[in-house]
């Protein structure tokens, strides 16, 4: 394919998808190891009421209030889950189920009650985003990548998700040692003075920020898939955290790129006329990678001894 076609139509969605995938997979590694994988699921459900409330308050579809609303909803959800768990002495999973389904239901109800016919805000969009529409119309070819005039016309999602990815990476890099220690041995982390409660909360909030930024660009289904599938697949490949994170990034990139390409061009190769949902395809590809590693990954079994099944 020529650059004239690729750069405006596919480069930006591809980059946004990849950045979103990595930004979610990075904190996902720790969440999976801490058995908090479903936090991502909960967050991506409560984003909906968050953006609806933000829309009701501001009356416009603008990005920053909505992202703030979504982040606020995520924090409210985390606090509520903790409150329900402690006050009701309920197991964490059930507490999570109570909170996120209720908030999601409230979001759907609010959405139905408001007149959103004039604006583009609906549940389907929230679920599977619209990666394909994030095209870069100002580009004419590879030369545009260095052209400041054309760069000004980049879809705003791209710098935002790039910034989020940078923020998440910096967080993981700065808190690498305490994160690693507290993930594997919380008691030991406390004895050497790590404030594990604060750190755990910071991790969840980082995950929430990544989820909200990614959600804005690609919809919530990729968010859940990328929080869990690449880290889980990476977990089957190695016993070392550093290697696991490297693998998870590779898997995230692989699913984003292959998913996007298959969604965009796969149906054409098969003779169909139209593309399918890129978000869904990326999630499917990440599942395929997970399935392959679960079947043949060197460290797939619980004992962790390579080669034994």
């Amino acid at each position: 394919m020529s650059g004239e076609e690729f750069v405006p139509l596919s480069l930006t969605p591809l980059l946004i998808g990849t950045f979103a995938a990595i930004a979610c997979a990075l904190p996902g590694n720790f969440l999976v190891l801490r058995k908090q994988a479903l936090i991502g699921d909960a967050i991506s459900h409560v984003v909906l009421p968050g953006i609806v409330v933000a829309f009701l308050l501001t009356g416009t579809i603008s990005t920053w209030p909505m992202m703030l609303g979504a982040a606020g909803a995520a924090v409210v959800a985390v606090v509520l889950i903790e409150a329900v768990r402690r006050l009701g002495q309920i197991e964490a999973g059930a507490a999570m189920g109570v909170v996120f389904t209720t908030m999601f239901a409230a979001g759907v109800l609010l959405l139905e009650q408001t007149d959103t016919s004039t604006v583009h805000l609906d549940v389907e969009h929230a679920l599977y985003g619209n990666l394909e529409s994030l095209i870069w119309l100002d580009a004419v070819g590879w030369s545009s990548v260095l052209d400041p005039v054309a760069l000004a016309g980049l879809p705003p999602e791209l710098p935002r998700i790039a910034l989020t990815l940078l923020g998440v990476s910096v967080f993981v890099w700065l808190f690498w040692r305490p994160l690693k220690i507290s993930t594997f041995d919380e008691g030991f982390a406390r004895t050497i003075g790590v404030r594990t409660g604060v750190l755990g909360m910071a991790l969840v909030i980082t995950a929430a920020i990544a989820a909200v930024a990614a959600f804005d660009a690609v919809g919530s289904i990729i968010v859940i898939a990328m929080f869990i599938c690449p880290p889980a697949a990476a977990r089957m490949m190695t016993n070392r955290l550093e290697t696991q994170i490297a693998w998870s990034i590779i898997f995230a990139i692989l699913s984003a790129v292959s998913g996007y390409v298959l969604a965009g061009y796969g149906p054409l190769w098969l003779g169909a006329a139209d593309a399918v949902s890129a978000a869904g395809m990326i999630a499917t590809m990440s599942g395929l990678i997970l399935a392959l590693t679960a079947l043949w990954g060197p460290c797939r079994t619980r004992a962790g001894a390579p080669g034994t099944a």
């Binding site: 908090q36 699921d41 109800l109 869990i228 599938c229 149906p267 399918v276 869904g280 990326i282 999630a283």
Partner: protein, 401 residues
Amino acid sequence: MLWDALTLQLGYNATLVAIGATLLGISAGVTGTFLFLRKRALVSDAISHATLPGVCLGFMVLVALGGDGRNLIGLLAGSAVSAWIGLLCMNWLTRHTRLAEDAAIGAILSVFFGLGIVLLTVIQTMGVGRQAGLEGFLLGSTAGMLWADALVIAIGGAATLLLVMIIRRPMTMVAFDPEYAAARGLPVHRIDLAMMGLVMAVTVVGLKIVGLILIVALLIIPPVTARFWTDRSDRVVLLAGLAGGLAGYLGAAMSASAPNLPTGPIIVLVSFGFFALSLLLAPVRGVLAAVLRHLRFQRRVHIRQGLLALAQGQKIYEPLTLRLLRRAGLARADGVATETGKARAAKALRDERRWEIVRADQMHEATAALYDGLRDIETVLTQDQIAEIDRQIGGPQEVPA
């Protein structure tokens, strides 16, 4: 308007939906209880999301066979198949790989849902033009419910309920103590699968009314609500069924009473209302009960400490203690004991001394373990024992001035 809806006066469709939602609520509450007691509540999330590819494939097959793609039985059969595959994958992941259950749930949920969305877009481009109903399975759509649909839901719900009743004893045992169940010779793994199968059945039946995202709420919230009110598993099952059925009925009625009130979310919110009330008001496990318990305990501690202080002639500085003593008629506003106060204080001091003897005596070891500074000694020792202790203490001694 709401009253009309509650008494099923709002027409044919509203009545169908209300009956269907009630039955669904009962069977979801009852089935969900076992899931909740087994501490696997969120498995239902994976199962429900895994129905989507099946719905789409079912639609495609039906259309390919030249039929109407919206045949509910066909779609539900498809969703059951894909949910079952998702369930088996999830079980395999947790049993044969190192992944914990939550990661397996999340992986199955997102991948199956993603695949479902891919299939949904494929259907949209098939140009059949009849796919509009499929999005309804995400959030439920009761507007166009037919008599046949209601019948499917009613029969499915009733069958699930019957199956739950048949295998409830082994399921309860597995939920509480899987090792013991295995030792008794029960096939724990198969019972777990049966439990999941029932959850899957409820999910599939509920797709039409509340949709696959919110059916999870009907499986989780009523059991959690019921758990507040009782510690007996059979009653939790009963109450969960009741809470679920009531939420279904009220929710369906409310959604029929005004425009723009989608059935599924309303049912979930009503259900959550029950949960919130239970969380606050339940007799033993509720927040209010806990607060009252704490306050009562605090009061006892303060009065006890105040009485001991009075008996030893110490001044009371703590305002709460003073207030409590005054309200009980044991002390005056200036902190001087009344006649009853003096008597009670002397008794408190004597009891404390009795406890000291008890705790020093090896013979009373078991009793001494009950000492917490508040317990009345009469409740743990007989009159004879107390008299014996009093003999050791001796007669009244000089009270400090």
